[in-house]
Subunit: 321 residues, 2 copies
């Protein structure tokens, strides 16, 4: 009998989905659905259930052919209980997503942190395949981290590891949403760059990014366009982001002696080469040469699919993470 795995990418504002066959090929895709931000945890659960039902119906597979379902969640997950402890952008607190989904669909359900699964997906199916120790930086609205150590996803105590987006780069630096000051995220994420750009606008400077930041965090394409046009404020924001990303990358290289540093996420997808070039121009001075000499640096290969492939890897590992 054919069997299928249903994989979901649940974010703060949207759900993506894919159905994989037993050869790990995507046979069906569900495009973005809103997660109706701001509603209760039961509503978000209903959105996910609806999405899975819709995927089954539209793809034409039979419910009995579903082998497992996996999803990421944008937050802190208790690996033993399969419980979402905390999600800054979804109304889930101590939410037992595994029980809810297993009860609803009667198949194993796996859940992991979004960026962890993105890096895992890249490690099993993408740019990080074959690398034993990988430090991943995912640059989006926030700055996510994911670690592959000794060939496996490293999750630390209660799956809370890899928050080096909140590594302190300057204890007197700009405030971060996390409450600390001068985190990597406060400089090098879209939020950090948006805040920098807004500050320049407040100083009376002109920039093509004014509209893009007027209602919150800009879209990566807007930044790409502004940088390509040589907009000084946009270029400064990117230079600053890359400078601190290089410093943080150096520290992570010295800390873990990885085989690979992998950059992914929306910003990297939109303008990976720009970032990579700037980071590489500075990186050497922040690493011990003997350690730097055995590290490769790459951008992610799977784009929006990295988390979906990470879900799939989680199912194959058969471990509740």
């Amino acid at each position: 009998m054919a069997h299928y795995n249903i994989c979901l990418d649940v974010g703060g504002t949207k759900v993506l989905g894919a159905i994989f066959n037993e050869n790990d090929e995507i046979i069906f895709r569900l495009k973005k659905r809103s997660t109706s931000r701001g509603t209760g945890s039961a509503d978000v659960e209903q959105v996910i259930v609806d999405v899975v039902e819709e995927m089954i119906a539209s793809s034409g597979i039979d419910k009995s052919e579903i082998h497992a379902i996996a999803s990421c969640a944008p937050g802190v997950i208790d690996q033993d209980r399969g419980v979402v402890l905390f999600t800054p952008n979804l109304p889930w607190r101590d939410y037992d997503i595994r029980s809810a989904m297993m009860q609803r669909f009667g198949v194993p359900f796996f859940v992991g942190n979004d960026v962890n699964l993105g890096v895992l997906g890249e490690h099993e199916y993408g740019a990080a395949k074959g690398y034993n120790n990988v430090v991943g930086f995912f640059v989006g609205t926030g700055m996510g981290g994911g670690l592959i150590l000794n060939g496996e996803l490293f999750t630390g105590n209660q799956c809370k590891a890899a928050e080096y987006g909140h590594m302190i780069l300057d204890p007197k630096g700009p405030k971060c949403n996390c409450g600390q000051r001068g985190c990597l995220e406060a400089y090098s994420s879209k939020t950090g760059m948006t805040n920098y750009i807004k500050k320049q606008i407040a100083k009376g400077r002109e920039t093509m990014m004014a509209d893009a930041v007027s209602e919150g965090v800009f879209r990566s394409k807007k930044l790409k366009k502004a940088v390509a046009a040589g907009d000084p404020v946009a270029c400064e924001a990117v230079d600053r982001a890359c400078h601190w990303l290089a410093v943080a990358t150096g520290s992570m290289i010295n800390t873990l002696s990885p085989d690979l540093v992998l950059y992914g996420g929306g910003v990297i997808e939109a303008m990976g080469n720009v970032f990579l070039e700037k980071v590489l121009a500075e990186l050497d001075q922040y690493c011990l040469p003997t350690i730097r000499s055995t590290v490769e640096v790459k951008t992610a290969a799977l784009g929006d699919d990295s988390i979906l492939y990470g879900d799939l890897a989680l199912i194959h590992a058969g471990r509740y993470l």
Copy 2:
């Protein structure tokens, strides 16, 4: 037949040794011997051979009863070949210590990085026993790191991991011996504190530490005395060291979500409580609260013996590291 393990702590200036019986009890100790810094690699090898011979003769054990020998080396070790690649304070470059020792004594020989083995010793026999993920900081002339991840020593690519003593805390900060600027080591090690104190002396300030730093790095006891007496320059050096150690510790906690942060090394042995108190007073503001909540902080328990116990753990693991 009785069997014994010979364990060595080879540093930049001295060798310590102990013989363990099959119950992991120390039955003989060899006090410090000089490694005759500055001489050739063959001379240092001869010192080690002499030390082992002396230990066998003085303890009265029979050569046929030696099960294995293990040692640390203060540098970068190639785990597959058992070769010391580089030691900043000993004349070893690509030195095949394993072959040399196995040829000489005819028993298995294990070698690992000094701080890695110190943390391993604390994990198997000391303050870190039972903790699954441990971040160790060893504060001495330099700032050493050692990581236990998923219950095992984490060594990274070519055993070069855990150099977070060279994590960048300020890219414009003071020069470090490693060539970078603003490393943790440049602030929080004895070298970093010595440089700070010398700078104050150069500015014309008076300090009880003047003699202690006149011929290089001070001895920990001198610092303890000066701080106890309230010497302003000594107190500032310690405050600065602890501030940056707290920042770096916070970043490591956010990065790895460990169960335990362990402080060891000569400075901590001499004045652990002073350091621990100051670091703990600042630490919370540099960690995400959800991650901080599951981390304990301790000082090492085995003192000068931590590396010897780490050697023993390496022998028991039976792995060439």
